[in-house]
Amino acid sequence: MDMLIAPERLELAEAVRDYLSGTHGPEVLRRLDAGPNRDPAIWQGLVEMGLTGLLVPEEHEGLGMGLLDAALIARECGRAALAEPLVDSAFVAVPWLLAQDQTDDLAAIAAGEQRVLPAHTINGWQADGDGEALDSVDPLRNLSALPADASDDPHLLDLGALMSAAQLVGLAEAMLDQAVEYSKIREQFGQPVGGFQALKHKLADVAVALEFARPVAWRAAQAMDDGAASAPVHVSHAKIAATDAAFLAAESAIQVHGAMGYTYEVDLHFWMKRAWALGGAWGSRAFHLKRVDDAVIGGALAIGPEHTFA
């Protein structure tokens, strides 16, 4: 039993964090918002890091890594509010194809030449698909009408929900950081507003929510990787915990920014809108709560101290 993520496992995610913070800062989000919101150069950078092939087995020219590794990187994508459909294609669609032994396209996906954009009936739209365009509040999302052949496979839903949870963790972390930074520089009543205890306690609550969402997400990723029968319940737990943390982070961050936070000029809105989007995607709160409820109150899952890892 080991709940620690090995440091060498974190290295790749840290490299992705460094890469994205160097090449994909808020100025890039603003540029994408102003012009075409996808950029082949950004995609190419992700391909060169091997990320499109992260979950592709080595015999198909990928890195053959696991869902926990992918989730840790999805968190970094959330932190950077990455718009390119890396998570959907490489971390949601690829493991789904693998689960069905559909391996023909994997080498092309790993090489970044092809993308598979998942379409699931639970969403009612497809992201980065080719159908008729739908308008999202998130200016960097490309939503289109759900194709007729969309899947209703619960395994695909679990993968989508898990990776949304991981991105929501990163989004929440980024919003918390932005709020803390702003609180140090904005002065009122002759002091930085971050010195006011009301704001400290608000942001401390975000830190608490995050502290107890993260291990849930990683545990769910590992459970899916292990093929545990209970994995869907843990995915739902992760989705709820991460969504709640992200909404709390968003509402707290805008409050700390005052009117500045209500403008289009301050970058916070990119993260906030992605959080709203992913919070509802891949199963609403009600959907996931019901799955937990059925397992826990319905009695399908063993609960109590002796069953921590059931």
Partner: protein, 387 residues
């Protein structure tokens, strides 16, 4: 990350499970907060110790089993899962014990740890004073040196179980004229030393669960000091880290409450509010999240890491989730919530649980203080005016 237990861990779980099944008191004990219940709980501590279960992580030389923190968590899971009693010994084994392990001399370890694990000496924490609650650095009680003794004068308060306990661990001002965090020392004392007067204080539920302690020229040998003179604050902060971070509230206790809450909900499902249903699902989720986090902290410590200010996040989380679970139970019980005993004669443990849960956000450093620590030390927010 590996979510499966080893064969050795499974075997250990089976061992403690069967020992508890054979030895656990058949009927619930009287509350720990009164004389009769305290005595019952101490007897149980001694029985636990007779099976070598006093504190499994300690070296065998001190009455432990030399096990690691994961095994300790397994022990705790089985312990709370079996419905075994509260630990009268908790301040000793979870707070003072680890502190002695870190700061004590070999002589002090031998002298204090063995009787602690055996349940022979029950400890009370004596830090708070009437003028030093959240602001613990305002401690005034003095322990000035007189030859090879300290002479203690002043008053401590809110000392849990001090009405009945054997020994206390206190924080005293040993340097004359010192201010705030400086000049404090961590001193252990026999609660029966001449000059100490204990005055029990009735708690919300009516029992004398904590006490005031008055010190009038109380002479304590210098060798009872833990770590150096003037290093008391540092030592106390290490103890507080154990209190908030890992040991005092292991997840098993809350997971057991969550399971009882699920069972209660099933009985009242027909007339439960929709919000109660969500609160029950959340009880399971939050207690699980707390358990995952604790396993991660344990693994981190085993890998050579330590607990820092993130202990504050833990303390906020467990205390507020405990209160929320007990509140939900009170709401589910409706008109029966106020009854101390139900119609069938059984104790209303939810009422006791709810009352006790109200103290969680206050003791071990109030949650407001924990939020300050989180904001300032973890998030790096400015430490200027409180506003």
């Amino acid at each position: 990350m590996d979510l499966s237990y080893t064969l050795e861990q499974d075997a250990f779980r089976a061992e403690i499970r069967s020992w508890l099944a054979a030895n656990k008191p058949a009927n619930p004990l009287v509350t720990l907060e009164c004389r009769e219940g305290y005595d019952q709980h101490v007897a149980w501590e001694r029985q636990l110790a007779s099976g070598n279960w006093g504190m499994v992580t300690w070296p065998e030389a001190y009455g432990g089993r030399g096990l690691d923190l994961i095994q300790w968590l397994i022990f705790e899971e089985e312990y709370w899962g079996s419905g075994a009693p509260l630990r009268a010994n908790q301040n000793g084994i979870f707070l003072l014990g680890p502190t002695i392990m870190e700061y004590g001399t070999e002589e002090q370890k031998a002298r204090f740890l063995t009787p602690m694990a055996a349940g022979e000496v029950i400890w009370a924490q004596a830090w708070s004073e009437p003028g030093a609650g959240s602001d613990m650095a305002a401690i005034k009680t003095t322990a000035y040196r007189d030859g090879d003794h300290y002479v203690i004068n002043g008053q401590k308060t809110w000392s849990s179980r001090a009405s009945f306990a054997d020994w206390g661990f206190g924080l005293f001002r040993t340097e004359e004229g010192s201010q705030r965090h400086k000049g404090l020392s961590f001193v252990l004392f026999d609660l029966d030393t001449p000059g100490i007067t204990r005055r029990p204080i009735r708690q919300l539920h009516g029992h004398p669960g904590f006490a005031e302690l008055f010190f009038d020229d109380v002479r304590v040998p210098v060798e009872n000091r833990l770590a150096g003179e003037g290093e008391g604050w540092k030592v106390a902060m290490a103890t507080a880290g154990f209190e908030r971070g890992l040991m005092l509230r292991s997840p098993g206790r809350f997971q057991a409450t969550a399971r009882r809450l699920v069972e209660l909900f099933r009985k009242h499902e027909a007339d439960a509010a929709p919000s109660a249903r969500e609160a029950v699902a959340k009880a399971w989720m939050d207690t699980q999240a707390y358990a995952y986090n604790t396993y991660a902290v344990a693994a981190k410590i085993m890998a050579g890491g330590s607990i820092g200010a993130e202990a504050s996040l833990n303390k906020i989380f467990w205390s507020e989730l405990d209160r929320a679970m007990n509140r939900t139970a009170m709401q589910l019980l409706g008109a029966a919530a106020e009854l101390r005993r139900f119609d069938d004669g059984s104790m209303n443990d939810w009422l006791e649980g709810y009352i006790f849960s109200l103290s969680g956000p206050i003791y071990a450093g109030s949650n407001e203080i924990q939020r300050n620590i989180t904001a300032e030390r973890l998030l790096g927010m400015p430490r200027v005016g409180a506003g």
